[in-house]
Symmetry: C2
Subunit: 872 residues, 2 copies
């Protein structure tokens, strides 16, 4: 018994994707549903697998099966391949997963010198028939016989030149005969073989070509890049051709069962009469709205409406359909789930639930969490934007739109904003000292730095538009000039940025506010019914906390206290501390900071009203608080009343070759315990005072950069002793937790030890990624783009968590942590906490929460629901 390698469209259904490929299964499904699909058949993926098993030879009997199925198609169409009334075929590849890397399509198969005449005779349209023939030779020559595309183009051009015509459409039937003759010569010369006139030979070679394309380089690369595994081969779909260009009762069109850009539940699409599919796409003739078809061909239209309604009900999703009307007969050529904008996706998902078409789980899974980004930031007015010229492109570091007057320093940005201007901060790169100016600006544009540079990270945290690494922007901060190609901008000039696209525009473009439409709120509300991960936010001001809470944050996962040290006059006290010669001096300076820090924490606790707040003790190396150039040092020395030499010496002594791996985090506390004492005091005085007012505060104090249990123990002791002292002074007893960031590989490796003392872990995957890869995120710009281009890395690991490397450490730390402390609280506060694929990972390894910047909270809520649903 030979196996069955070929299936008629009426023998399959959509469940047979693996065997028939996606396209074949859908064509079969529609056929079975009684939808008018041009008849055809599918050669299975197993035939393809067998073909490779046999060393690229047809399995026995396959082509005989093909011949039988061609006969059935001939019967259905009342036409014969190569016959008087010639049957023409299309041949398409189609794997179980859509793969643009493979051979696509051969159309009009079956034409030759004889059948083209039959076609002319039958249709009475000589030009149409000849043009179809020359297109077939070109397509077949290109994809089946490997003739270079431009060889055909050259031949065509030569004929056009001789005839003195400009457009293909101006070629007469006679001209086309000449083109056909030239094309055949091209095939002969280039492929060293005659163009095959026998239609079955054409079919055999085409199927052959589809099978071979399964293992061409593009297809292999595509499968590798998209991690497509477990497929045995591609199927081949052979289908009768129908023509929309056979006169005024023929036509073709594309339609959607709902509006793909708004999501509105209306029939949407366009068509052209007397045209082929490619004419709709090519844009030479302007297609008409689908509703007008009702007037032209009312019966076909009514049939189409019935079909679209049936198909949407059947597939329970918005469909993108292609149809052709041949001589008044409607054929559906394709149906598939349609692409849609983010607002449309949200609206359709919610409305389909209301309509009872789908359930909430399906609705949630229909919306890509990343796409929500579009809904969460100001946007440029689309129409105005389309008219404007993009003068430079950079990295889309933080989405949204910004329009403002240029400022070249953080101070000026602050001043201008205070004076009521809207400002865009333009700098080579930003540093922690620029925070205030960044906060005062609508957006930030830098010429250097990557997606995780200081500007990018801070801007995302602030939910502010930011474009980084815009290398076309030459910025001279001293002379206050921004040069972009031939355009020069000075302070106060207007500029517009689209952070989502990384595009820069001159002048002002109107901006729209984000629309948090009703559907959006509904959908995200549903997400909360399914997710098990809690969502927290990274915030260090009452304002950011408020915003995040509005977006649904259930606590603060990371409050970076160093950002507070730069505000206003505080940096002065910080510098005074750094320059102190002894503990007493440092304590005096820290005493000045205490009331301010306490105020910060009180503000945040009040906003969060009893939700958990994780506060990280000071993390950066101290030199970040000092200036670095001689000029800046000189000016600061004068301001502080110390000698230039003394300040310079301090700056030099704090200098580090690799500050990322230097004297920071919990290491600072070992040298300067008084810093942790002050910070702990501020936290607990704030919390105790609010507790007396009846608020329920459970501070979570987080020790950064722990790599060894003893470091944690040293730090924890100071925190606990200070906390107990403050609570005694205040006469209040609070619950509190002391835990650590896991961000140093050694911390993950020895998490079982650390968990003996730490009550929670929060994965600092930014630093963990830096150290696990050995990549400084400030410096990777010189090679990571090349890495992604060369496919050495699939993604920038600072954007999507590297699950196979860094993820191993996270998983290990989770397991080891739980082995020592089964109820340990586990979260993530790196940038990955707001990235959907990383959130899925966090769900799978069993974290309790993810924490992300305020504007990513809704994304994280949806992504967490996806994770819960996908990993049920």
């Amino acid at each position: 018994m030979t196996e069955k390698y070929v299936y008629s469209f009426d023998e399959g259904d959509k469940s047979m994707k693996k065997l028939l490929g996606g396209k074949g299964a859908n064509l079969a499904e529609m056929t079975t549903l009684g939808i008018p699909v041009p008849p055809g058949f599918t050669v299975t993926t197993e035939a393809c697998a067998k073909y490779y098993e046999l060393g690229q030879k047809y399995p026995e009997g396959v082509f005989e099966e093909v011949r039988e199925h061609v006969k059935k198609v001939e019967e259905k169409m009342g036409a014969v391949l190569g016959g008087e009334n010639p049957l023409l075929l299309s041949v398409r590849s189609g794997a179980a997963v859509s793969m643009p890397g493979m051979m696509d399509t051969v159309l009009n198969l079956g034409l030759n010198d004889k059948t083209v005449q039959n076609l002319i005779d039958k249709t009475g349209n000589e030009r149409f028939a000849l043009d179809s023939y020359r297109r077939f030779i070109q397509m077949f020559g290109d994809v089946v016989m490997g003739v270079a595309h431009h060889d055909f183009e050259n031949a065509l051009e030569k004929v056009k030149e001789t005839k003195g015509v400009e457009f293909d459409t101006d070629l007469t039937a006679e001209d086309l005969r000449e083109v056909i003759s030239e094309y055949k010569k091209v095939v002969q010369e280039s492929a060293g073989k005659m163009f095959p006139e026998d239609p079955f030979e054409q079919l055999k070679l085409s199927i052959d070509a589809v099978f071979s394309s399964w293992n061409n380089k593009r297809a292999i690369t595509y499968r590798k890049l998209n991690d497509i595994k477990g497929l045995v081969g591609t199927a081949v779909n052979v289908q009768a051709m129908v023509f929309g260009n056979m006169g005024e009762t023929s036509g073709t069109g594309v339609c959607f069962t709902r509006d793909p850009s708004t999501g509105e539940n209306v029939f949407y699409g366009e068509y052209l009469m007397n045209a082929q599919g490619e004419d709709v796409v090519a844009g030479i003739r302007t297609p008409k709205p689908i509703s007008q078809l009702e007037e032209v061909m009312p019966e076909c239209y009514a049939q189409l409406v019935k079909i679209y309604q049936d198909l949407e009900k059947h597939y329970k999703d918005m469909q993108d359909m292609e149809f052709t009307i041949q001589d008044g007969v409607l054929y559906i050529l394709q149906t598939r789930s349609g692409k849609r904008t983010a607002p449309a996706a949200v609206r359709m998902a919610v409305e389909m639930v209301d309509e009872g078409l789908i359930d909430k789980e399906t609705a949630l899974l229909r919306v890509d969490p990343n796409a929500l980004n579009q809904l969460l930031h100001k946007q440029l007015d689309t129409i105005a934007k389309d008219k404007a010229e993009v003068i430079a492109k950079g990295l889309p570091a933080s989405p949204g739109a910004a329009v403002g007057k240029i400022a070249f320093t953080a101070e000026r940005a602050h001043e201008m904003a205070e004076a009521g201007e809207t400002v865009v901060l333009v700098r080579t790169e930003t540093s922690p000292e620029d925070i205030q100016g960044m906060n005062a600006s609508q957006g930030i544009l830098t010429s250097r730095g990557g997606m995780t540079s200081h500007a990018a990270v801070v801007a995302r945290g602030m939910g502010k538009c930011c474009i980084c690494g815009c290398s076309d922007a030459v910025i001279d901060e001293s002379s206050k000039k921004l040069q972009i190609k031939d355009k020069t901008f000075t302070e106060g000039d207007w500029i517009t940025m689209d952070g989502s696209a990384g595009e820069v525009f001159a002048d002002k473009i109107p901006v729209k506010d984000p629309e948090l439409s009703g559907s959006f709120g509904t959908l995200i509300g549903w997400a909360d019914e399914f997710r098990t991960l809690k969502i927290r936010t990274n915030a260090e001001t009452p304002h950011d906390s408020e915003v995040a809470k509005g977006f649904g944050a259930e606590g603060i996962g990371l409050c970076r206290t160093e950002h507070m040290f730069f505000e206003g006059d505080r940096v002065k006290a910080v510098r005074e501390m750094i320059l102190s010669e002894d503990v007493e001096g440092r304590k005096k300076a820290l005493a000045k900071l205490l009331p301010m820090q306490k105020g910060d924490f009180k503000g945040i606790f009040e906003v969060m009203k009893g939700l958990p707040v994780t506060i990280r003790l000071l993390d950066p190396p101290l030199h970040e608080f000092l200036p670095h150039t001689d000029a800046e040092i000189k000016s600061l020395a004068e301001e502080m009343g110390v000698t230039f030499e003394k300040l310079k010496e301090k700056v030099d002594s704090l200098h580090e070759l690799n500050p990322m791996l230097g004297h920071r985090g919990c290491r600072l506390v070992v040298t300067y315990p008084e810093i942790a004492e002050m910070q702990t005091r501020a936290i607990f005085e704030a919390a105790c005072e609010l507790a007396k007012d009846g608020q329920d505060i459970v501070p979570e104090v987080m020790i950064p950069l722990v790599g060894h249990m003893n470091e944690f123990v040293f730090n924890k002791k100071i925190v606990v002793e200070t906390a107990e002292k403050v609570m005694e002074e205040q006469g209040t007893k609070l619950k509190y937790m002391v835990g650590t960031m896991i961000e140093v590989p050694r911390g993950a490796l020895t998490a079982d030890d650390i968990a003996k003392e730490a009550e929670f872990f929060s994965f600092g995957t930014n630093d963990l990624t830096q150290m696990t890869f050995g990549f400084s995120r400030d410096d990777v710009g010189s090679f990571v783009p090349e890495y992604v281009e060369q496919n050495i890395l699939e993604n920038d690991p600072f954007q999507a968590l590297d699950q196979s490397g860094v993820g191993q450490l996270v998983k290990m730390a989770v397991e080891k942590g739980k082995s020592s402390r089964p109820d340990i609280k586990l979260g993530i506060c790196g940038e990955h906490g707001g990235e959907p694929s990383s959130i899925d990972f966090c769900h799978r390894v069993g974290l309790d929460y993810v924490s992300c910047s305020p504007f990513r909270v809704p994304i994280a809520r949806l992504a967490a629901a996806h994770a819960a649903l996908k990993n049920k």
Copy 2:
């Protein structure tokens, strides 16, 4: 049935250390051997454990057992505790492992106002008896009753003042009676209790005190620091006192069964007649050589000789013994394995094998591999050194001695050496550009940097004396001045360094060459019979390779090609390459380097004659080859004929915030494949040419800094393609290997993937430690010393491999690597490859070889033998 808690010395032996403690077991062993040991007994460690179980109370029956054993001692000594002929006792602690943190000793127990008189009567020596009594009160008051030592000192001083005497020994019997009376008052006042007159009360309290000292803070800390676990408590040894100060037929001494400083097989030691043990130690009277005892007390001497010979034969090791002669009767108070110098250890070990006393395994284990350091470098003449003044101390970064004239720049050092001077290079810190000058110098002194700074690492590699981080040395390179406290040195001044001690001297001190004595060679030869680890060396010149081979290196484990780029004029070509705008320019510059690199490799291959040579492709970031200050850039720009701006721009564009985590290693090759092409070509042209001369070369090409399999694949492809091309050109076919460093945590985590392509792994534990801890070894000076001091870290992890953190990654990579490629070749080339505890780890995880600097090769050979023997 009550348990047995007390053992007479004649009831135990040396196998009972766990129960009787080390001291008790040895006393029992000697007793059993028939050696004259003053009688006594041991209260077991189990009694101590029970004591704690009961909440610091004596277990029932213990003191009754003690009383019985006291009776036996009384019988043996013919004296009675508290009696007419008073028995005096010593009480000492003694755990299974020696623990200086515990209570040590109470002597003369049993004295009180009555027995002191009996003692006077019996000995006729009033002063001796009274002095013993006052010493007892002081010791007992101090260690048992917690009276402060200085309270006794004050009382003593007061009496001495009143009497107008300077030395204790000048006090008369009458004076001593007054001291005793004062001492008792001190006890009463300070402890709030009377000094106990009852000898059994004294004994009970003393045993109590020993038990309590087991859990005092010092002892707990000591156990923690030395990782002493599993001990249940301390034993207490109670022994009859004997007196060497009872007249001219009494005496006391210390002796060794061989000379502990040379190892010569002679009886060695010193004694004093009419003296107590502490007199020998105190140095008030000069002891006499042991040989002279033969004349004074020939019988005792003969007995002592017999005993020392027996004891050495019995313990099969050189013994350090304490003896006392009381009234012509010899007693041995203690025997233990004696401390010895490195040369002595080696000589004894080898000679004892020759004598048939021990086997080779034991001999090898007797010598601490680290101690061999003393044998492998030039040393200062001990006598001259002892007379000289240490003017500054720094870190002992690389051992050995150096005497030379000061040079403040590498260029001057080179020039001076060329002119025939011996030079010491003195710099704030060194950089790769200084290599030539370092090579030309006898030693290197830096004011900054730690044990793994550039200067330290390179100097150790060169086997050159180096002192780093000598903060007392204020170096002004521009004015060519070295200031050490009040001394100023200028160029050409003589200076002497002891790199093993980190000591700096003014002027010249004579130097001795290392003595590679015959025993040393023999011992290391034996090591080779037992070790399974191969030993390779880190070397990049024919000279270093030669030295290492002389020391027994079996290949090169790490040849760092970047060091070659700094030699002579080469750096010019390197800079030309860096400044090139395009691939062509880079290739042109690289072509200039090719013949030089090829020469390097040829030289090394020729020395190594078929032994494996692992060559690492270029590792450091390119900016290391460019100057950094404006002045240097200006001068180089002139030299290269480019504008200052252009060079400055390049330097700025290559600048990295964290170069350690930057654009280096295999990442360079992704951007500039032509560098790897040139290096591979150089390796294979060299190897092919030698192969044609009949040499057997198997190059091992090593790709640095691999964190992802794709990086390795990218690099390997270039190496393989170039190698195949060169071999085809040369018409020669060589075996070769391509492998990688595992030095990035992600490399270890994904070693199974990488091993699919890599034929060998070499663990780069320097960088692996940096990234696993998040410690920049250039910057840890600001906190790691504090970490070690605060016991946060036991060791500097750059010296001894951190087995619990970094070691986990190594182990994981070994297992994963073998899972993909069972025959993968595994080695280590970080600095840890020459450190014994790390070598033991490497043996245990199953590496094939360790690679270390040439001068550590003998140490590694011995350490590898230790590892094999200890882990049998």
